[in-house]
């Protein structure tokens, strides 16, 4: 062993940690090497100096200070314990919390479902408004009709007029014709109000009603008495009414669904027409195509590029001459896909 190796072992030698042979080597080397022996002596002296350091007395208040801090901590913890740990308090609090969470969940769920229902339900409100406004507009027509269709009881008429509030496409509505002037005015009034994207359908109603009412009140005197003319007026009125209803529905649907276009297709052969409509939609790259049944009609809705909507209307008109839709495409200038609803109904003129 050289001096460097011995130097490394001196500390362990002092602590008596070396094995016998190592210890013998160190002792033998130090006996011969003055430098290493001196180093060992210095190290021993160093160790003794450190070991001879007196102990320092801690401050007399130390124990009390420590215990006081511990007591403070215990008191704080004890207060919390008293509040929460006894089961007589903890369990009821937990139970109340559970009930509260459950009630809150049910409340949130119900309010959410109500909102969803409001959007999923067929656009009842505007339609009801539309049908409510229809009798007002046709007050004069009714007078005329009473003259034409004698033998009907007034009560029956009231019932039929009131009933379509929920079902605007019912027969009672179809049986309410108006005189030509009134029909034309109604037609114009409604047509000028193309449902805008998300526009309020009620505005449409308000603007459409007054003008027509004014004219209607003066129109009964001009009703043609001949049966042929009556039949013609009746047919025109029916067509106008159906168009009006589909416009209203489109408006209502637009407000609820963010501006959709509703096109009514009157089909002689409904299944065949449906099949053709599906084909057209596929050809025009319609997306999210869904079908549902509303009363006696089938509604196919889809998302479609606004640019192809005129073509869609043309194609639908080709397969069903009675196709009716808005005068212009809603948001046709937009690049965003447009929601289109195609209502296929049985053509009432078809025998």
């Amino acid at each position: 062993m050289n001096c460097s190796e011995i130097e490394d072992k001196l500390s362990a030698y002092l602590d008596g940690l070396l094995h016998d042979d190592e210890r013998n080597n160190v002792e033998k080397h130090c006996a011969e090497c003055i430098r290493c022996r001196h180093s060992l002596e210095e190290l021993e002296r160093t160790k003794n100096i450190l070991g001879e350091l007196d102990e320092v007395e801690p401050p007399s208040w130390l124990t009390e200070r420590v215990m006081s801090r511990i007591r403070e901590k215990e008191e704080a913890r004890g207060w919390l314990k008293r509040l929460f740990l006894p089961l007589r308090v903890k369990v009821p609090i937990e139970a109340l919390a559970m009930v509260f969470v459950a009630v809150l969940s049910v409340y949130i769920y119900r309010s959410t479902v109500t909102d969803i229902d409001r959007f999923d339900r067929p656009p009842e409100g505007p339609l009801a408004s539309a049908t409510r406004s229809v009798p007002e507009k046709t007050q004069a027509a009714r007078v005329g009709k009473e003259d034409i269709e004698k033998g009907r009881e007034p009560g029956q008429k009231e019932k039929k007029i009131g009933a379509p509030a929920a079902k605007p496409q019912g027969p009672a509505l179809k049986e309410i014709p108006g005189p030509p002037s009134q029909v034309a005015q109604q037609d114009n009034a409604v047509r000028t109000e193309t449902p805008g994207r998300g526009g309020p359908p009620f505005a449409l109603e308000k603007r459409a009603v007054p003008g027509s009412l004014k004219d209607e009140r003066v129109s009964p005197a001009a009703i043609p008495p001949s049966p042929a003319e009556t039949e013609r007026f009746k047919a025109k009125a029916m067509a106008a009414r159906e168009e009006q209803i589909s416009e209203y529905r489109a408006a209502a649907s637009g407000s609820a669904q963010g501006g959709s276009i509703r096109i009514t297709v009157k089909a002689r052969n409904v299944p065949d027409t449906l099949s053709k409509v599906r084909g057209i939609m596929t050809a025009l790259s319609a997306r999210e195509v869904r079908e549902r049944t509303e009363n006696d009609s089938t509604v196919i809705s889809c998302l479609m590029d606004p640019k192809v909507i005129p073509e869609l209307k043309d194609r639908l008109a080709a397969i069903a001459p009675g196709t009716e839709g808005p005068a212009r495409s809603i948001g046709s200038g937009d690049a965003a896909p447009q929601r289109v609803e195609i209502v296929v109904i049985k053509d009432p003129r078809d025998p």
């Binding site: 490394d8 001196l10 500390s11 362990a12 602590d15 940690l17 002596e41 210095e42 190290l43 002296r45 160093t46 160790k47 100096i49 450190l50 070991g51 001879e52 350091l53 007196d54 102990e55 320092v56 007395e57 801690p58 401050p59 130390l62 124990t63 200070r65 420590v66 215990m67 801090r69 511990i70 007591r71 901590k73 215990e74």
Partner: protein, 206 residues
């Protein structure tokens, strides 16, 4: 060498465990016994590591509080005292690190008031009837030794305090510092060599 090794005896160890169990069963008063029993050694570890009396008092308080909070985690794998001293070493280490940016130890004039903050007022006189001159020389020597310790690296300082001043065994030191025994041996060897050189500068030839 310090003479309060009795706390490491087996009887005390068993009593420590008993008081620990009492504390854990909801009797915090039992902790006072443990504080009284170990505070002096803890204080000396902290004082020798930091060289500052007030800091040592703070460190010991914090260490006891930490120990009290963690008492339930003490599983008795090591002696309670070893566990406790490990906590105080850790707190002292943190304090040194915290104050390392500052000038930590103010130089103490030997001509100054002996009852200043250097901790000399608390040093026990070895013998009540020792001549005053001997006491002063002894105080001076001890102060110089402490200054030599303060100049050491943190790792060397703590291992010298634990082994050569407090007299803990290698096994205890490995537990307190979380080091392997070989590391403790080599570090202690380097620490002793370092302080020897420091002593030689302060005292001349040893």
């Amino acid at each position: 060498m310090s003479n309060n090794r009795e706390t490491d005896g087996k009887g005390t160890l068993d009593e420590d465990s008993r008081y620990v169990a009492l504390c854990n069963s909801g009797e915090p008063q039992a902790f006072e016994v443990l504080v009284r029993r170990h505070q002096k050694k803890m204080f000396n570890i902290a004082y020798r590591m930091t060289g500052n009396y007030d800091d040592a008092a703070d460190i010991v308080q914090d260490s006891f509080l930490s120990a009290y909070k963690a008492l339930k985690t003490f599983r008795g794998e090591a002696k309670f005292s070893t566990w406790l001293y490990g906590i105080v070493v850790n707190h002292a280490r943190n304090r040194i690190r915290y104050t390392s940016g500052k000038k930590y130890h103010e130089p103490v004039s030997l001509d100054g008031d002996p009852s200043d903050e250097s901790g000399l007022k608390s040093i026990e006189a070895r013998s009540g009837d020792a001549p005053v001159i001997d006491m002063l020389v002894r105080k001076e020597t001890q102060e110089k030794v402490q200054r030599c310790i303060d100049r050491l690296e943190k790792e060397h300082r703590e291992i010298l305090v634990l082994r050569d001043i407090q007299g803990f065994s290698y096994e205890e030191i490995t537990v307190m510092l979380g080091l392997a025994e070989g590391t403790v041996k080599s570090r202690l060897s380097r620490a002793r060599a370092a302080i020897r050189e420091s002593f030689k500068k302060v005292f001349g030839d040893l």
